[in-house]
């Protein structure tokens, strides 16, 4: 007799309230600038005012006269190495000889308070010799030494196949910067202690990157340094690599002055000097046969990396792998480049090199469908990757793919097939729908596989409360809550018994960065690994206490017949029996096989998927574009917390829309013109679309409770959907992000 299938999960899959909501709502959460240390000093960076310049002389005699002046630190004061360890290690912590971009840090002034630090920094005279600079990728790429990294994917023979295609389409696209605009600016505090150890309190996604940088700049060994993550006010990639620079500066200043030193950026400094989403250029070609089957794809993709390579090599790699889109195409050729310019170095931003190329390829897919005379959704459905099909890197999709269902959902919900009936709100307005789809390789993938491991430590106290230490961070996305749910489920422990700490590098093994939508899978699995032996002991003890051979474990209770005991009672008994109540877990991602030479093999462990339809209205007189509604459907495997997942979806969709429609950073001749919220416009509460979000849960066998990754996916393809909706509304084919009114009017031929 088959047993009735029941939902056995008590905590996973539930919309549990954020575990860190209360302290944040009460204003009691301690962010980086909220910590006090006795006799704390303040550091401020002195920055180059030129796109490229030689540093000739630094004169701080005037500042030195002030009683609140403490120290001026330049590259020659660095006791360790002046190379920031990232990928290629080409970025010096402090510029020496030549500063390669406007606002690069040249020196650190330390004073007794933050106001004096700012005031005195203006009294330091730095003499520069201006040098010729490059701010254009197309000029820069002509010199081999300016190419930081380059990849190629070859599948089949795209150049031969394109000649046979009945339908061929080729276009160029560009996208502009995107600034993270996390609400908490960069901040770090170095606290050097008399015993020769150094603690750095850092607002960061990646405490272990900060650790590497602090060790490099001070020359201290890893076991004498600890990085403690402070409550982090947003990241989105902007607190991936760059907090290591801020943390290293604060650590250096503290190491040299032997006092605690805080460095806290103001918004302008943050805009000018911290990483951004790369501007991009792409040329995409698709070819299809007479039946509307995609036969080939050729892509040239260039990212404007800025003055140093930082994370560009891996941002570019992710973009390259995903460049042809989530389609089954036999012939693919992708070549990609990250190119140097004398501008602020670009790095990680939610999507990591994918949104730019997604905008280009999803726009072109739409245009190709139109050329063939097919409905853009039918065309996509005919060509998408599916189970047992191959991606552009010839990776066979084995399980967990809901793409087809996602497309059907948004098609139905948006009433796509009747979109011609949509009514604009006024005569001068035009309304339309546009579609886009995306796939997202979860985790660091083949290129970052050596970093794709994570640790967890679980300690159950005698009072049955539980402390969990992991190496991945909470930055607002909800990691603390989701990981608490996973631990609660495995241990059958009430949520309120569990406390997860912010990361402290001295308490948990290096778990890699908190990026690539990897935290649920990596730290979640590490927690499960740690919890397994504890679970065995707890469950065995419970059975003994119940005097039974089987039981139901549910909601923190262990039940057998009419007997029911609570988690806390079982833990008390475990301790009475002197059982081991702490364990460490370690999780390593499954193998990948990608070959960098030709771009063949399994690039990522698994993919998450999205389908999106944007409903827009364009004012053809003003060019103003309003996104009225976005329908998005996601397959992220098991949804651990549906409420928090919805929050990630909304936030990602709006960031994608804001990039597509509003955000327009202007850099002229190497100098940023709008470094702040006054002139760099991000979406506010008045600009939001209506959100219609759905989830399809396709189990991922290796995931914790079958979950995949979520964080970045919602942003990736929004711009493409908006662009295709604009075309559907008023016939113009935008080729550039952001789609600001003047560009739309230009395309319409109105200005």
């Amino acid at each position: 007799m088959s047993r009735k299938k029941e939902n056995k999960l008590s905590f996973v899959g539930k919309g549990i309230e954020r575990v860190d909501a209360d302290i944040k709502l009460e204003g009691k959460a301690l962010y980086g600038d909220d910590l006090d240390f006795a006799k704390m000093l303040y550091g401020v960076c002195l920055r180059s005012p030129y796109p490229k310049a030689r540093i000739k002389k630094i004169d701080f005699s005037e500042a030195q006269k002030d009683p609140d002046f403490v120290k001026l630190i330049t590259a020659k004061d660095i006791p360790g190495s002046n190379k920031w360890p990232v990928v290629n290690d080409d970025y010096p912590f402090l510029a020496w000889d030549i500063a390669e971009f406007h606002s690069q840090a040249v020196a650190i002034l330390v004073a007794k308070n933050r106001f004096k630090a700012n005031e005195l920094s203006k009294k330091v005279k730095i003499e520069y010799e201006e040098l010729d600079f490059i701010d254009d990728i197309h000029k820069s790429i002509t010199k081999k030494e300016n190419i930081f990294s380059s990849y190629v994917i070859k599948k089949g023979d795209a150049f031969n196949e394109i000649k046979k295609c009945k339908y061929v389409i080729e276009k160029e696209f560009t996208t502009n910067y995107q600034v993270h605009c996390y609400l908490e600016p960069q901040v770090a505090t170095g606290v050097f202690a008399t015993d020769g150890t150094l603690a750095v309190y850092s607002s960061t996604q990646c405490p272990f990157y900060v650790l590497d940088a602090v060790c490099a700049i001070t020359g201290l060994s890893s076991n004498k340094v600890k990085i403690i993550q402070t409550v982090t006010g947003g990241g989105f990639g902007g607190k991936e690599d760059v907090p290591a620079l801020v943390g290293a500066h604060a650590a250096l200043a503290s190491f040299i002055t032997k006092s605690p030193v805080r460095i806290c950026y103001d918004r302008e400094e943050d805009f000018r000097s911290m990483s951004k989403r790369h501007p991009s250029y792409s040329k995409v070609t698709y070819g299809a046969d007479e039946n509307g089957k995609l036969k080939c794809c050729i892509v040239k993709y260039i990212l404007d990396a800025g003055a140093y390579s930082t994370l560009s090599p891996i941002v570019l790699w992710r973009g390259t792998v995903h460049a042809a889109g989530p389609y089954s195409i036999d012939n693919v050729y992708v070549e990609s480049y990250a190119v140097k310019t004398n501008k602020v170095p670009c790095g990680a931003f939610r999507g990591f090199g994918q949104p730019q190329i997604s905008f280009a390829q999803e726009s072109l897919i739409d245009d190709l469908a139109e050329k063939i005379g097919m409905d853009p959704i039918d065309f996509r459905l005919k060509n998408i990757i599916d189970k047992n099909k191959l991606t552009s890197t010839s990776q066979k999709i084995k399980d967990s793919i809901g793409l087809k269902e996602l497309i059907e959902i948004v098609r139905k919900k948006s009433d796509w097939d009747k979109r011609k009936n949509l009514k604009p709100s006024a005569n001068n307005k035009r309304r339309g729908l546009g579609c886009s789809i995306a796939y997202y390789g979860v985790g660091l993938g083949a290129k970052g596989r050596y970093l794709d491991r994570a640790g967890a430590y679980i300690n159950i106290y005698r009072d049955a409360t539980v402390n969990i230490t992991v190496g991945n961070t909470e930055m607002g996305q909800g990691a603390l809550t989701v990981l608490t749910q996973i631990a609660a489920e495995t241990l059958n422990c009430p949520i309120n018994n569990i406390k997860l700490d912010e990361v402290d590098t001295s308490k948990v093994p290096d778990s890699g960065p908190t990026v690539a939508s990897r935290t649920t899978v990596m730290s979640g699995n590490a927690i499960i690994e740690a919890a397994k032996p504890l679970r065995e002991r707890i469950f065995k003890t419970a059975l003994k206490m119940l005097g039974s051979k089987d039981m139901i474990a549910k909601d923190g209770y262990f039940i057998s017949g009419s007997k029911k005991i609570f988690f806390n009672e079982v833990i008390k008994q475990c301790w009475a029996e002197r059982l081991k109540m702490s364990e460490q877990g370690w999780y390593v991602s499954p193998p990948t096989t990608y070959d960098l030479k030709d771009g063949k093999g399994d690039a990522y462990i698994v993919y998450s998927y999205s389908a999106n339809i944007a409903d827009v209205e364009v004012d053809i007189e003003t060019g103003f574009l309003e996104v009225k509604k976005i329908y998005s459907a996601f397959d992220v495997g098991k949804v651990v917390n549906p409420v928090l997942a919805l929050g990630q979806a909304h936030g990602g969709i709006l960031q994608g829309m804001s990039w597509a429609v509003y955000e327009n950073l202007v850099i002229e001749k190497g100098v940023m013109k709008n470094p702040g919220f006054t002139d760099y416009i991000v979406a506010t509460s008045c600009d939001i679309p209506e959100y219609d979000v759905s989830f399809v849960e396709k189990d991922y066998s290796e995931g914790p409770y079958k979950a995949k990754g979520m964080g970045e996916l919602p942003l990736i393809a929004v711009a493409g959907a908006v662009r295709n909706a604009v075309k559907n509304a008023c016939g113009v084919e935008m080729d550039s992000v952001p789609m600001i009114p003047e560009k739309i009017l230009k395309k319409m031929g109105r200005i």
């Binding site: 009691k28 605009c181 609400l183 947003g234 936030g651 939001i688």
Partner: protein, 153 residues
């Protein structure tokens, strides 16, 4: 130099003491009084993270000089329970998942608390308008708008 005698009320407690007249209200609250719940997001009045109530009105404390609050009543996030909608807002923000990174949250609660007192029957559109001086980069605003809407009931 601390040479200006400031008298005001902060979260229901009287303050009297010498302050530096060049000090902004946000720095006075954070550094002198130790109320760290008020956050600095931009320093130019654009993001709303530093909002406090000044005689019941929501203001950006980065744009107000400390000496100018003489004789006035200040409520920060730490004292928000003293307002009519403070507790309700916190509860509905939590319930509606209107908090993510949390850095903008105190500012939103302050803005909403002042706005609901002024307009307890506000429509959703009016709430959107009222919150448009506060930037949140995490949530996409929808859950915040719902939370404020729910708190008015």
């Amino acid at each position: 130099m601390k040479n200006y005698l400031l008298k005001c009320e902060i979260n229901g407690e009287k303050f009297e003491g010498l302050i530096d007249p060049n000090m902004r209200l946000i720095d006075f609250l954070r550094d002198e009084i130790g109320l760290k719940g008020t956050k600095e997001g931009c320093g130019e009045g654009e993001c709303g993270a530093c909002m406090v109530l000044l005689d019941g009105r929501a203001v950006n404390s980065c744009l107000v000089m400390a000496f100018s609050v003489s004789g006035k009543e200040i409520i920060t996030i730490e004292g928000i329970d003293k307002t009519k909608y403070g507790k309700k807002l916190k509860k509905s923000f939590k319930k509606n998942a209107a908090v993510q990174c949390g850095f903008c949250t105190p500012g939103f609660i302050i803005t909403a608390a002042a706005f609901l007192e002024e307009k307890p029957d506000a429509t959703e559109e009016e709430i959107k308008e009222a919150l448009s001086g506060n930037i949140c980069r995490c949530t996409g605003y929808d859950m915040i708008i719902k939370a404020v809407n729910e708190a008015k009931k």
